[in-house]
């Protein structure tokens, strides 16, 4: 369908047409030099279609043609997504660099999957079988995973396999099967299919209540504020508090099949770090490069804003796709505030009635439906797959009382709030142990966890009192509680991201260390003076710190453990 531009304002273009316009369908604004700029219809008013353009609109003019399509903004799904580095619209960035060099170029779009790479197909159906959308037609190995080639997710009803390709090597565009619906309709199926990014992809028997802990190997998360496979969580924090570093650590160490990193409106340099490091790092669980389980969606802050808005949906769709294979996927979005700001920019141009801080009124519902895409599914063949979503939030002025943080807190299952005070004091990860919360079950027994939480609260109260009455005015019991809380914070909640061993603590070790830490916290030291109390807790802090740095079950590990056991047995008194 043809249309003509009648107005341009930033990345908003208004086009006039006599024909049919489909809300949320794609269009192309065509530059006088022939460049075609991908756009999306976001509002229809009579003969006018409002489009958000996924590129800079520089050079467009009134009267330029617009091509309106019927299909929605989609991504291509199939083998070969893993290890890729895409922009927010699924353009492979390395390929783009090969074609156009140092800089991105508006209007250059590249297919998301290689059409020349062969895949080893093994069929799992035979002619005559009855199948439905999402069922497996066969598999190909993709790195360490078995990638299911599925009946297109958009097909309705039951279909019969008429033909299926024999085992062998095929590219993604080869015909793998022909399906018939019994009423004369036939459908040829390849290894790739398209899916509209803004529509959740979920074909399953049922949705499960997520309860299985997702072990991130960050102690304060797993032990105190756990996340589960299929759950959602958020990390709000002021600038420089450590949101990105925390996500990078999680992307490296989390016990999960696939990680999707959505760099949404943040620094390009951070992505460079990931894409230079990950191919060099081996995943200890598989012995393969970390990049083989990772997909990067990079729509950094200088890249077009509308594509930033799309990028989180692109990431979610890829995550949902791998969930349909019975895999556990973790989507890390940094930062959802930039995504919300992209919505705000557009809403402003549409002259919609603004809500708080000029965010659109539908901000909360958009945030909610984004996180709703997470979840654990029991698929039609009985296997279980999950998509977990963790998003950072960058609140203006570091103040959590703002629309994006508040809208997010209403819908997520866990809140890891970073505090400026902790990051300034270099207490990393700077998750505030007093403010944060999680509604999910974790790896530590709830009573033990609650008891440590009480200790932290008590310790905090004592510290606050002490600023008024001084050490002198504090009872020895209270003083000891404060020291114990510090001890727990220092040796357990804080973790050195740059130490090879301490950076990641597996669940089993966490449980064991937590047990030992609790034993110390529950000791009745019977201190008589404060200097003795301080000295004793400094000593045991030192023991645990060194223990944390020792590789599990190494000789050193055993040595420190022995010293700790001795400490507990003697309550730290020299014998």
């Amino acid at each position: 369908m043809k249309a003509r531009i009648v107005a341009v304002n930033g990345n908003l273009v208004i086009a006039e047409t006599d024909g049919r316009v489909v809300q949320n369908s794609v269009g192309y604004c065509i530059h006088s030099d022939g460049t075609r700029l991908l756009s999306e219809v976001i509002r229809v008013r009579g003969h006018l279609a409002d489009l958000q353009v996924f590129e800079e609109t520089r050079g467009l003019k009134v009267g330029d043609p617009v091509e309106l399509h019927e299909d929605m903004l989609s991504v291509v799904l199939g083998p070969g997504l893993l290890g890729q580095i895409y922009d927010g619209l699924q353009n492979p960035l390395p390929e783009l660099a090969k074609q156009v060099g140092f800089f991105l170029k508006p209007g250059v779009y590249i297919h998301g999957l290689s059409t020349t790479q062969p895949w080893e197909f093994t069929p799992s159906v035979k002619p005559g079988d009855t199948i439905e959308a999402g069922d497996s037609l066969g598999t190909v190995p993709e790195g360490i995973f078995t990638h299911r080639i599925t009946v297109p997710f958009g097909l309705r009803g039951s279909w019969t396999v008429e033909k299926v390709a024999p085992a062998g090597s095929y590219t993604v565009d080869a015909e793998m099967a022909v399906l018939a619906d019994g009423q004369g309709a036939k459908r040829s199926v390849t290894m790739q299919q398209n899916w509209p990014v803004k529509r959740p992809l979920s074909v399953a028997r049922r949705r499960l209540l997520p309860t299985e802990p997702l072990v991130s190997r960050v102690r304060i998360i797993d032990s105190m504020f756990p996340v589960v496979r299929g759950g959602t969580y958020c990390i709000p924090g002021p600038f420089g508090a450590g949101k990105t570093v925390l996500q990078q650590i999680t992307a490296r160490h989390a016990e999960i099949d696939i990680v999707i990193i959505a760099a949404c409106g943040e620094r390009a340099g951070e992505i460079v770090e990931t894409l230079r490091d990950f191919p060099e790092l081996t995943d200890p669980r598989t012995g393969r490069s970390l990049m083989e389980r990772t997909i990067i969606i990079a729509n950094t802050s200088a890249m077009p804003v509308a594509a930033r808005e799309a990028s989180v949906y692109t990431a979610a769709t890829l995550g949902e796709y791998y969930r349909q294979m019975g895999l556990n996927v973790l989507l890390l979005a940094d930062s959802t505030s930039r995504w919300a700001q992209a919505m705000r920019e557009l809403s402003g141009r549409l002259e919609e009635i603004p809500g708080e801080e000029a965010f659109p009124a539908y901000l909360e519902s958009r945030i909610a439906s984004f996180y709703e895409r997470a979840g654990a599914l029991e698929l039609r063949d009985g296997t279980v797959g999950s998509l977990t979503i963790g998003g950072t939030v960058s609140p203006a002025g570091g103040n959590f009382e703002e629309p994006v943080t508040q809208g997010t807190l209403k819908v997520v299952g866990a809140f890891h709030g970073l505090s400026r005070a902790r990051s300034d004091a270099r207490r990393y990860p700077a998750i505030d142990p007093l403010d944060s919360w999680s509604k999910y079950p974790g790896i530590i027994e709830p009573d033990a966890m609650a008891s440590m939480r009480r200790l932290l609260l008590h310790g905090n109260e004592v510290r606050q009192m002490m600023t008024v009455v001084g050490e002198e005015g504090t009872s020895i019991a209270d003083f000891t509680a404060a020291l114990k809380a510090d001890f727990f914070d220092n040796v357990y909640l804080q973790q050195n991201a740059f130490d090879e061993v301490d950076a990641a603590t597996p669940a089993e070790r966490q449980r064991f260390v937590f047990g030992k830490v609790s034993e110390v916290a529950n000791l009745d030291f019977e201190f008589t003076d404060k200097a003795q109390a301080r000295e004793t807790l400094v000593a045991v802090t030192d023991l645990f710190r060194n223990w944390n740095y020792a590789a599990t079950d190494s000789e050193e590990y055993q040595r420190w453990l022995k010293a700790i056991d001795q400490f507990i047995a003697t309550k730290g008194r020299k014998v």
Binding site: V8, R58, G59, K105, G240
Partner: protein
């Protein structure tokens, strides 16, 4: 196509709306009025109505003045002849010399493909210990100096420009006081770097919105030099003036402000500029150091706040010193592990001890009794401030590290510093503690 249009329909703030056809978005235009010629940029197209942001301001523009569309976006001629020259906020010579000719380069071009960036790993030596030792500046970093009016932030910028050993230095002044401009010029001249410097200067006397082009001019030129393999240093001062000009335009355009009158796209606008800082994989680099004055000394003000979310750390300049707390170079770990083996240890120990000193000072000020340990810390704090933190200190990184060792040895026993034993053994100044001092062996050859 017709080039002139003279049916100006609306003049408001610094935005002029004219009826015209065939005009492209972002295109540049000139407006000839009784007051002379001004550059203008298309910021909105609606049917025949074209809205332009007038860089020299709309003062004196009349409804039948002529608007001429140039059919290209804002450009800057690029050539080596730019070196040693001074231009105004619209790119016109300000030094009384002729126009520069060269390859015309568009401003505000698309960003670098992230995969074409490399990991930065070269330290920029500034001679300022609070930077070199504690928060190293790294080539291609984007870093603001957060400060308040009255602090010597421009002096600091000029000094870094002088000492950073970059191939090309580009200064972008926004709302710069004329005196400050002259000082920059003088510093560069005396330092012998004017020949490889380019100045784009918008002064406080110039029309406010004219400063909007300054960062783009600097960065477009810098990017071209970087593509030629040069190591470019861009100094921008003051980015708050730039943000305020953005605010002014958005208010005239009746955009709904998001926070304290600033437009909702402030983050994007700033990021587009700062993200031009780059280390090209296979070419040169561009480092961006900017001044951001904080209105009301409030770091949560939208300008410093959005900046902090974009840049790779920040320096706080307060009371004439770079604050050790709050200041952060997020790229320092890329370089301080391989400068000298004691670099990280000194960095951590000196700051931790200084933090303890501050606690002791608080205790003292509240009238609590001082222990021996407190007194050691107080002495340390004073020496550290005098010999290391003071901005007039100008020494090489290694000398600065040695100086830190000297202070530590003057105040503490080795174990009290918390530095690892192996590093202490290697670097603790001889003769400073009770252990028998080894005489430095004279060269025997």
């Amino acid at each position: 196509m017709r080039k002139y249009f003279d049916s100006i329909r609306r003049i408001a703030g610094n935005v002029v709306t004219v009826n015209a056809m065939g005009v492209t978005y972002d295109e540049l235009a000139t407006i000839d009025s009784a007051h002379g010629q001004s550059l203008a940029q298309v910021i909105d197209l609606e049917g025949q109505q074209v809205s332009l942001q007038v860089f020299a301001g709309s003062q004196g523009v009349s409804n039948n003045d002529r608007v001429r569309f140039l059919q290209h976006p804002m450009q800057v001629p690029f050539s080596d002849d730019l070196l040693g020259r001074v231009f105004d906020g619209s790119g016109r010579p300000r030094d009384g010399r002729g126009e520069v000719t060269g390859k015309l380069t568009d401003l505000g071009t698309p960003p670098v493909n992230p995969v074409m960036r490399r990991m930065p790993d070269q330290m920029v030596h500034t001679g300022i210990p609070m930077i070199d030792v504690f928060n190293s500046l790294v080539e291609s970093q984007k870093l603001p100096i957060f400060s308040v009016p009255g602090e010597p932030y421009n002096e600091l910028l000029a000094r870094v420009g002088l000492q950073a050993n970059a191939d090309i230095i580009i200064l972008g002044g926004m709302g710069l006081r004329h005196d400050d401009y002259l000082k920059f010029r003088q510093t560069f001249e005396e330092g012998g770097v004017l020949g490889r410097a380019i100045l784009f200067v918008h002064t406080a006397a110039d029309p406010v919105v004219e400063c909007l082009l300054v960062p783009d001019l600097c960065l477009a030129v810098g990017e071209q030099f970087a593509l030629q393999g040069k190591r470019v240093l861009v100094l921008l001062t003051d980015m708050t003036a730039f943000a305020d000009a953005l605010k002014e335009i958005s208010i005239v355009m009746e955009q709904i402000p998001s926070n304290r009158g600033y437009p909702g796209d402030l983050y994007t606008q700033l990021a587009k500029r700062y993200e031009k800082a780059v280390d090209f994989d296979g070419a040169g680099s561009m480092t961006v150091l900017a001044c951001v004055t904080m209105p009301g000394d409030d770091v949560t003000h939208p300008v410093p706040d959005n900046t902090g979310y974009i840049t790779e750390g920040q320096f706080y300049l307060r009371h004439g010193r770079i604050e050790p707390f709050g200041s952060l170079s997020r790229l320092k770990q890329q370089v301080n592990g391989k400068s000298r083996d004691d670099h990280r240890a000194i960095m951590d120990a000196c700051i931790q001890l200084y933090a303890l000193c501050r606690e002791s000072r608080e205790k003292r000020d509240m009238g609590f009794e001082m222990s021996d340990w407190d007194r050691k810390l107080l002495k340390y704090g004073t020496l550290f401030e005098q010999r290391v933190m003071d901005l007039s200190v100008n020494i090489h990184l290694f000398d600065a590290l040695d100086r830190c060792w000297g202070i530590l040895a003057e105040c503490f026993d080795p174990a009290e510093t918390g530095i690892r034993r192996s590093i202490i053994e290697k670097h603790w100044p001889a003769g400073a503690d009770e252990s028998p001092a080894e005489q430095p062996a004279e060269a025997t050859a």
